[in-house]
Amino acid sequence: MTAPQHMVAAWDLPTRLFKWLLTLLVLLAWVSNKYGSAIPHWHIWNGYAILMLIVFRVLWGFVGGSTARFSAFSIKPSAALAYLRAQWRGMKPHYLGHNPLAAWMVLALLAALAAQAGLGLYSGDEDRIVIEGPLAKTVSDQAVAFAAHWHRLGFKLILTLVTIHIAAALAYDLLGKYGLIGAMVTGRKPADAYQDMQEAAAGSAAHAMLCLLAACAIVFGGIYLLGGNPLQ
């Protein structure tokens, strides 16, 4: 019998809520496209919600919990190489927040989803009868076709990134017992000699609310300023 492990805070509540809400909404984006043809507004509002979450996460990266801040991301290529080398040698480098590869994955997922949602705003079906993003009317038909083409291919990129992301998390937990997935649920990780920080400081709930309100204003205001009506 080992003594119960001492647990430390790793991810604050807004970061976790963001993560799982985004997961759910990405899943629903696919469902609403595949099965929601009769309710085009479902897919459109699902996209607005994803854009809002992404803007929230970007803002939260500046004022949020210590592990969620971009300043805690080690994105230098040298850091990624050093991390890979250490893993290869079996040194099991542990990070309380994102390890250097995971930081890249977070940024890649956010960028891909932002691009996908952005393209969606300008997309429409070929005949412009079934579904149309709020900004499709502001550009040429060729631009809409271009956006729709990449909106369709963008899903494949997201699927690839998500597959790698899930496979990596499962590999860490099943092969290495890192407890990453549990930590994303409970917010806590077993204490360890972490490379980045020993315990996370949570962001404030007031800041989270402000970030969310700002994200809402930026998304809806942005669409409006670009000449579209998000409530069409």
Binding site: S37, A38, D125, D127, R128, I129, V130, E132, A148
Partner: protein, 148 residues
């Protein structure tokens, strides 16, 4: 003289039958594309009505739905074989691999359009009932039409 008249009438009937035959044998690819284009043209004004950008026009909506109801009766018969190499068609091989299901999507479209016809009387009922009809277009195109 009588003989000539009777002969001419028979000749004319035969000629008309031959022309009708010729129409019936119109290239099925061209025929289905023409019908599909007529759907697109008939539906085109409706999205603006849904967004409030154009006034609701019952005649336009009813004509569009009738175009679909009529067209979907003919369309299932216009896919006799997969496109030959070089033929200008976006029909995917899946149509002939799952012909029954493909034909079923046209039947559903026709049925949904016919059901919507008496239900749509104003802007609100258009909003409530149009999506179910138009959604069929997307569902089928996503699966059976080659993307651009």
């Amino acid at each position: 003289m009588r003989k000539i008249i009777i002969f001419s009438i028979c000749f004319a009937i035969a000629g008309a039958a031959a022309i009708a035959q010729g129409f019936a044998q119109e290239d099925p690819v061209a025929a289905r594309q023409k019908l599909m284009k007529s759907f697109g043209a008939a539906l085109k004004p409706i999205p603006d009505m849904l967004k409030g950008a154009a006034p609701f026009d019952l005649a336009v909506v009813q004509k569009a739905l009738a175009t679909i109801v009529d067209g979907t009766k003919e369309l299932p018969n216009l896919y006799p074989e997969p496109p030959k190499p070089g033929e200008k068609s976006r029909a995917l091989p899946k149509i002939w691999e799952e012909k029954a299901r493909f034909v079923g999507t046209y039947e559903k479209l026709g049925k949904d359009a016919a059901a919507a016809l008496p239900l749509i009387t104003d802007e609100a009922s258009l909003k409530a009932n149009f999506g179910k009809v138009a959604g069929n277009c997307k569902t089928c195109h996503d699966e059976f039409r080659k993307p651009e």
